[in-house]
Amino acid sequence: MYRYDERDRTIIGERVAQFRGQTERYLAGELNEEQFLPLRLQNGLYIQRLAPMLRIAVPYGLLNSDQLRRLARISRDYDKGYAHFTTRQNLQFNWPRLEDVPEILAELAEVEMHAVQTSGNCIRNTTSDPYAGVARDEIADPRPYCELIRQWSTFHPEFAFLPRKFKIAVNGAKADRAAIRVHDIGVQIIERDGEIGFQVYVGGGQGRTPVIAELIRDFLPEQDLLSYLEAIVRVYNQLGRRDNKYKARIKILVKALGPEEFGRRVEREWEQIRDGADRLTPEALDWARAFFDAPDYARFDAAATESDLQAQADGDKAFARWLERNTFPHRVPGYRAVRLSTKPTGVPPGDVTDSQLEAIADLADRFSFGEARVTHDQNVVLADVQQDELQALWQAARKHGFATPNIGTLTDMICCPGGDFCSLANAKSIPVAEAIQRRFDDMDYLYDLGDLNLNISGCMNACGHHHVGHIGILGVDKKGEEFYQVQLGGSSSENASLGKVLGPSFSRAEVPDVIGTILNIYVEQRRPDELFLDTYQRIGLQPFKERVYAKA
């Protein structure tokens, strides 16, 4: 993974000092609330319903075991002993004291972490594929580009006060596991005639106006990545709306100008800077790639390790299930990537305790070269596990509550913090997730249903990605009461689509039954090998609607 050098350490250290000064000025009354707001936001500090919330950047989701242990210690010393993985591969502390935050940032800097630009109207942490570097369908490893983008966007002097927040995602595989089409900029790595380059999408997003991004460039040469991003953000900085916060995202500008015209303006700007200093040099690209060189893999005979594993699985149904749902094929024979589930029933999705963070660190050290990755669906990946150690890992993971074999199934939900924590919420989301998990706890049924993303947001800001869930649930406010709208057919994959609203909303108590009815229709109507989304796309919304709203 990327390691800081003196320059990174200097810059991040000066940031800590700067924020310490700002916090002191605020506590001394020299800065008022309004003046302090943008400063604390650019350091990841929100004031939430119950307490401050500090969001820590996890660059493209990558953590090493030292960082995990430090996060555990911080959660113990400065918080209530737990932390929360977000839907953008970051990590949040929900209960720090404002006056402790500079100290927390200093502790993070010691392990090469920070909270820079995790909120505010600036370029946020770049997200990527949790299987980067190991996936079999990978065209090129996205992480070197993510790191170059991290450096380019960190304290960018021109783009620290954009019209609105700005999110970039990079995907390097054929399948889109980074949801690039619902980001402000989505970068897809491609290879054409032996050259690596990028397809560039702009103007995707969720929130109250969900939009699938438009392709504005079909092949961008590798060395032009940063200058092209600079051109896009510059056009947006000049022309994006600033009169209405709900119309300020780049997606609104792209819609208003039309993607062709927006693309033309970007190209015109880019023509003037493409040969400038931001053009990536071969040395810079090699340098960035070197941080993500493959670890020292052992050599295995593919057929032999597969049959050994099969034999283990045959003897143990629970292990076999976990293997099927929670592991992912690896490009190197004899290895797999493993998902640790942070979503056992009854725990808010993404919440981990200090000792669980330490357990992840131990597992990473023991099984996966000391590294772990946070996923946008709030789980943790150990990317490089030997197949002959999977059973040992499974047993260890079970002890810590990470082995719920539900990855990719209905109960592996994405869920925002909602009304229990978030001051913007219309409704609670965590109790809904829990009610669904309790209702659908029969593993055989869940496996039979197969891949199914259910996403829950507590309001239309859509932090729980409900627009792109195969089933999406949105908390709404009906005359002061919490209600839930259900949507069907969303997806954040390479065939991204937005869910369609089923009809009038439901009370919280009704939600599990409604989901049950929807699933019944799927089971009745599916053809062999059809996943929920396939069936939905074939039969449409109507059959679901008729049954769910039928008068009993």
Partner: protein, 184 residues
Amino acid sequence: MPKPKAGPQPQNPAQLIRGGAVASNEWRLLPASDEAPEITADTLAPGKVILPFPVWQRLREDLSDRSGEIGVWLDSNETADLLGEAARELPLVAVHFPAFADGRGFTTGRLLRERFGFTGELRAVGAFIRDQLTYLRRCGFDAYAYEGEESLEDLLPSLHDFSDSYQAAVDESRPIFRRRPLAG
């Protein structure tokens, strides 16, 4: 005649930061207002003055013999290309930040310097805050007509909150990947 929008106008404090030190402000600044169209080259008082962009555009020819004492200010919706190459001839351009969160002026500053060859005084005016000084400096500003409550002396260190940077900008022509020793 439709009334021009009377948005926030830059103040023109008597003191400012210029060249890394506190200095006195030698320029008058004409706000954009309803009366502005009345002004002509003959009625404009002598001395150094910063004109709103539309006024400057209208009077530019008539004022050509006073060019050394005529500056321009751009509001945040007025982009650098409106001045374009004409910026080369100007002794001073001020860029207005009607609110600190309105970051358009950062792009305006950079483009004036990097694209349009402006070498005169580039002055930030309006509601920018102390913690933006480093960014402003990096985008090419060298004068800061600060309107906030803190003393100008206290502000000076914030011009250099960071001693190093990742990007190329006006103050540093090479991004970090061209400055780092990249081997191993």
